[in-house]
């Protein structure tokens, strides 16, 4: 089968294969809704191209119109037309049902994992020198206060960790503290789960509000110990310039 319908269909299939299977080889997989959007755009392109002139329109839609109108059809063509005409309302009915049927899934949570800190915690520098004595003190404090949940290996796998939801942060993962500035960690350690803004709902974080129990000095040194122990570096503005 030749003609604009076949080439249009081929283009759509190729586009789908590209978006779904080829693109994830070089980047993160696309969400299904985005793939659908790109395919809809591709289809719009095909439609615009196919409806530019009377003859291209006839080439694109003629066979479809003749198929749907059913004139002069017999045998397989007739059966196929009947199948399409019966299946289409059934699909609409099924779609209506699945949209309206009560779902057993609870409402989705749109928890922001790293919400913006309050202004007073933006751009603070660690006032303590990054030397061996301070790092070691930080690691000692970390072992005492943080490691039960965040793990002796800074991997979020402390002895108390398994039951938490959300799980304790894994500092050795390049997606956690390596993406954050020291002042951000200072905020999260100092204020804990109750310091979260409204974007952090539904407020499940069991992170203690350490300002009640530890002086700022301890918190800054713990941050040093965390980065050193997890073999990560804090994000800095200089790097981004």
């Amino acid at each position: 089968m030749k003609g604009p319908i076949a080439s249009g269909a081929t283009l759509l299939v190729l586009m789908f294969i590209f978006l779904k299977f080829v693109l994830p080889l070089v980047t993160a997989p696309l969400p299904a809704s985005l793939i659908y959007l790109y395919l809809a755009l591709t289809l719009s392109g095909i439609m615009i191209f196919g409806t530019m002139s009377a003859s291209s329109l006839e080439n694109l839609m003629g066979p479809i119109f003749r198929f749907l109108s059913g004139k002069g059809q017999s045998g397989v063509g007739q059966m196929a037309r009947l199948a399409v005409l019966v299946l289409f309302p059934l699909l609409v009915g099924w779609q209506t049902y699945t949209r309206l049927a009560p779902s057993d899934l609870p409402p989705a949570e749109n928890r922001t994992i790293h919400p913006a800190p309050p202004g007073e915690f933006v751009g603070l520098a660690n006032p303590y020198q990054n030397n061996e004595a301070n790092v070691n003190m930080g690691k000692g404090l970390y072992a005492a206060y943080c490691s039960p949940c965040h793990g002796a290996n800074y991997d979020g796998k402390g002895t108390a960790a398994p039951g938490f939801n959300p799980p304790p942060a894994n500092f050795s993962d390049p997606g956690t503290i390596a993406q954050l500035q020291e002042s951000y960690l200072f905020w999260r350690i100092k204020k804990g789960g109750v310091g979260l803004p409204v974007e952090g709902m539904p407020w499940k974080s069991a992170m203690p509000r350490w300002e009640v129990e530890l002086p700022d000095e301890f918190i800054w040194k713990i941050i040093m110990g965390e980065y050193d122990g997890a073999h990560q570096s804090p994000r800095t503005w200089e790097e981004e310039d």
């Binding site: 439609m47 003749r66 049927a101 609870p106 989705a108 039951g163 407020w203 069991a206």
Partner: protein, 279 residues
């Protein structure tokens, strides 16, 4: 004529593509697999007649599926605890339109007078922190309603809290609880009318989601000291709970309407095409 054909062809393409796309679930990703436990919510199944509120071992409980949630030691505020006895809890729910019952089942090797279990709910529309609804620093959080059962009391307490050290027993006690220990595991049934007159209580409306959390204490005495008490307990953070709504037959009316509209659409398109072709 050309414009009409163009318009008709657009409608056919867009309609078919849209409906097919949605129908095969193209436009929505499946919900992400839960990372921590296996469940995210508790379903309170609707039944007729009385609920097995006094019998944790009733066959009615055995006949419905449950949910399971992992528990963690309470480390959020002092006095902390770093290892707890109860590692996970199975939860089942029933309601009959008037009354609701929740069964919690968990392993605890010994039966002790100080053993205790609690279910916590957010109250009203305001979100609350899972740790006793303690005040949030940036946003105002709401209160929580806690149903607490202790072996030695043999009954439930209906309580409220909004922050640490604010836990109070309500004036109006609406909750009942019964516990049964056997072979290293506790089964405790909590029950209450779905709705109460008390604005400090969670109001359970069938079909609507509520937030729920759990806590358990192993009251075993080790070296003369109760192992887990007060803030030293096993806890979960928020999960969801819903009393099943009554079957809604109006859905089928909408499905028939959808079918009829689609068939009508086909009829009009085919008729127009036939007219166009014979012209």
């Amino acid at each position: 004529m050309l414009n009409r054909l163009r318009f008709l062809s657009m409608i056919i393409w867009v309609g078919v593509f849209g409906i097919l796309g949605l129908s095969i679930g193209f436009a929505s990703d499946p919900p992400p697999a839960d990372e921590v436990g296996t469940s995210v919510s508790v379903r309170m199944y609707q039944v007729e007649g009385t609920l097995p509120v006094d019998d944790p071992n009733s066959s009615q409980w055995a006949s419905i599926p449950g949910s399971e949630f992992k528990l963690a030691p309470q480390v959020h505020w002092p006095e902390r605890i770093q290892e707890v006895t109860v590692k996970s809890v199975k939860v089942k729910g029933l309601h009959n339109g008037e009354e609701g019952a929740i069964l919690v089942e968990y392993e605890d090797p010994t039966e002790d007078p100080q053993d205790a279990a609690a279910i916590e709910f957010m109250v009203g529309d305001q979100k609350a922190h899972f740790a006793h609804g303690q005040p949030m620093l940036q946003v105002e959080g709401g209160p929580v309603n806690i149903w607490f059962w202790k072996k030695e009391n043999g009954k439930a307490l209906d309580m409220s809290a909004k922050g640490f050290k604010t836990l109070t027993t309500q004036e109006k006690q609406d909750v009942k609880a019964t516990g049964a220990w056997e072979g290293g595991s506790w089964k405790v049934v909590f029950s209450r009318a779905l709705k109460t007159e008390d604005d400090k209580d969670v109001q359970i409306e069938p079909g609507e989601w509520r937030s729920v959390a759990f806590a358990f204490w192993d009251g075993a005495v080790v070296d003369g000291i109760v192992k887990e008490k007060g803030s030293q307990k096993a806890v979960s953070s928020w999960w969801s709970i819903r009393a099943e709504p009554s079957a809604d037959n109006s859905i089928f009316g909408w499905v028939i309407l959808g079918l009829a509209l689609a068939a009508g659409f086909e009829f009009v398109v085919v008729r127009k095409l036939r007219k166009g072709q014979s012209a």
